[in-house]
Symmetry: C2
Subunit: 370 residues, 2 copies
């Protein structure tokens, strides 16, 4: 059954000729990585020594809960928490257990810390298992926000499982049994619902919103495994707050679409306390921006400091190389790599040239014609 989804050499060659797949060297490994979707193969799929690890597919976002559930799902579905972090797939490769990013690179940070994040003995029993998980917390190298329930460092939350050479997810009951049996850290599973259960789902979303949590993923309990996601108002504010430094580098609709989503959440959930919500919305923009201006005046540049811990300092260096290659015109500047107990603490800055250039002009008294 699994072999029929294995990706044979002929398909790989064809994908590579079309620029859909490429030889990749990452984390000391050489493998083929699908850089774009190709036929039924999702971007981020990786082929390591004939082991195909399928990419995690994109999940459509519902903006209006009530109509959206009815339109997107048929029959019962599982409701799970969507955690605000970064998506990885953990697999056992010949060289050891590794964590792959959404795009199919070896994540030097997560791979380094896997032993802190979960009990990997599950791979001794199930070597072809693929754990799909979110890694989240304040000390991560990628995202500037963190869920409220991870106060320091990072934690890992399993939310799906696959097997090598198959793009399908394990059924929910099988996934839940493995989570229990191996005491795996997982996202919160709120239960099994019907599309008409708008009231209890709204109640869960309101609670998540109040607690500053990101949102939910609905997973149809059916062979077609249809999924959809919906986020809280808080999540939109958290995105804005976390990204004001990259205000000018993100796609322009980044901010406006989040404000619109927030407005839709407020309207649909009939959130009453609009004074405090307005205040939080304004603060999401302004606190970060006034902070950026003050930092510019003080230090001559605006930068976001990131911190994370490693077991092996070589992985910290690998992370920096990886970030530099992926950063585009954002500058990655390492600041410190120092022993810290059993770990090495890496600190680095992300510097956004667009915001720095603009503030440099503006604060020097230049004028703008608009």
């Amino acid at each position: 059954m699994t072999t029929k989804s294995a990706i044979n050499a002929e398909r790989i060659q064809r994908a590579m000729r079309l620029g859909k797949a490429a030889e990749t060297e990452s984390g000391g490994l050489r493998y083929v990585r699908f850089v774009h979707d190709f036929e039924d193969i999702t971007r981020g799929t990786v082929v390591l020594h004939d082991q195909a690890v399928y990419g995690y597919p994109p999940i459509g976002r519902l903006l209006a809960l009530q109509t959206g559930l009815a339109k997107q799902l048929s029959g019962p579905f599982w409701l799970e928490e969507k955690v605000d972090g970064f998506n990885i797939r953990v697999v056992r490769a010949q060289s050891g257990t590794i964590a792959l990013t959404r795009g199919g690179y070896v994540c030097p940070f997560t791979t380094d810390r896997l032993q802190d994040l979960l009990d990997m003995s599950i791979f001794d029993d199930q070597p072809d298992l693929v754990l799909c998980a979110e890694v989240a917390g304040p000390d991560n190298p990628y995202v500037e926000s963190a869920p409220p329930f991870v106060a320091e460092d990072v934690k890992l939350f399993v939310f799906d499982m696959m097997r090598q050479n198959s793009p399908r997810f394990l059924p929910q009951n099988e996934k839940m049994a493995l989570i229990r049996r191996y005491a795996l850290p997982s996202v919160e599973i709120f239960g099994r619902f019907e599309v008409g259960d708008v009231a209890p789902i709204s109640a869960i979303l309101k609670r998540l919103d109040e607690e500053g949590r990101e949102g939910v993923v609905c997973k149809e309990d059916s062979p077609r495994q249809r999924r959809t996601k919906h986020v809280t108002g808080s999540a939109n504010l958290s995105d804005i707050r976390a990204s004001v430094y990259s205000l000018l580098d993100l796609p322009p609709e980044y901010f406006t679409s989040r404000m619109l989503r927030l407005a839709l959440f407020v309207e649909e959930q009939e959130l009453a306390d609009s004074e405090s919500l307005n205040q939080r919305a304004g603060a999401a923009f302004l606190d970060g921006l006034t902070g950026a201006i003050r930092q510019y005046r003080r230090e001559g540049r605006v930068a976001h400091r990131f911190r994370c811990r490693f077991r092996d300092p070589e992985n910290a260096r690998r992370l920096i190389r990886y970030l530099k290659q992926a950063a585009g015109h954002v500058q990655i500047v390492p600041r410190e790599l120092e022993p810290d107990g059993d770990y090495w603490r890496l600190e680095f800055d992300r510097i956004y040239p667009s915001l720095n250039g603009l503030l440099s002009d503006w604060l020097a008294g230049e004028v703008v014609f608009d």
Copy 2:
């Protein structure tokens, strides 16, 4: 002196060949309009029967007051209010007194209402005068915001004067003398300042900000007539509030640049009450957007209703034709043209297809992949 700046037929022909000027029919008149800058001729310049009415030049915007004043201006300057409305030039043409838009069209609304807005006898004495003015108030056909000191209808505020066939402004003392002599309505003139007068200017800006007024224009009291402008935090919020319906139709940096300007104003003016400011900033976005969503659910579409009054209903019809031609993909839908005392009241909607399309998809439960 004025004749040397007259625009002769040869230059007009050259500009037309280069696509910089075009024959225009507007308000029942035929004339040449400069659709782009050409040599020293500003876009919006109009040539009517050998009378050249120069365009109003763009004014650079200061983002940081203290460094900006010192960098942009030398020597004393006049500080005047910048009023939140639309820019027009009032001139006496052979057919009568008309109001030209910034782009050089005859404004059917302002032209119709000129006799209500100022005493036009000044043109009997000074037929070649050009009055540069802002028309502002809630019942205007162009902008969705209004200054706090115009509670109904519109008012006109003169802020500069030119003469036909000259691109230069009249000196400040001459302008002020004419304003006094003819009791012309004008913007508030705060006085004559030096570039080091940051404290008193900041005090004026803070007061304007508290009163919800737009900002200031600084006019160097020198032959080079250099100008620069600076707006209050309130003005940025008012722009955002007024434009959320066109969220998806405006240039994407419209909103983010205003948030950044607001942050800079807050930081430079050391505005303390950030809680209320944050609340106002959030409300500027969210009140309008939640209102838009409610309107969509109620009426099946989002539209902004505009109202304005005319003396001659034919001018109302001209306005609608002008707006339709200028609106791009925004729809202009006339709703009512009814007698109202001595006037005709026009009501029309501006409908923004982008926001309507998005809400239509979202509220129907469609998903978005982002």
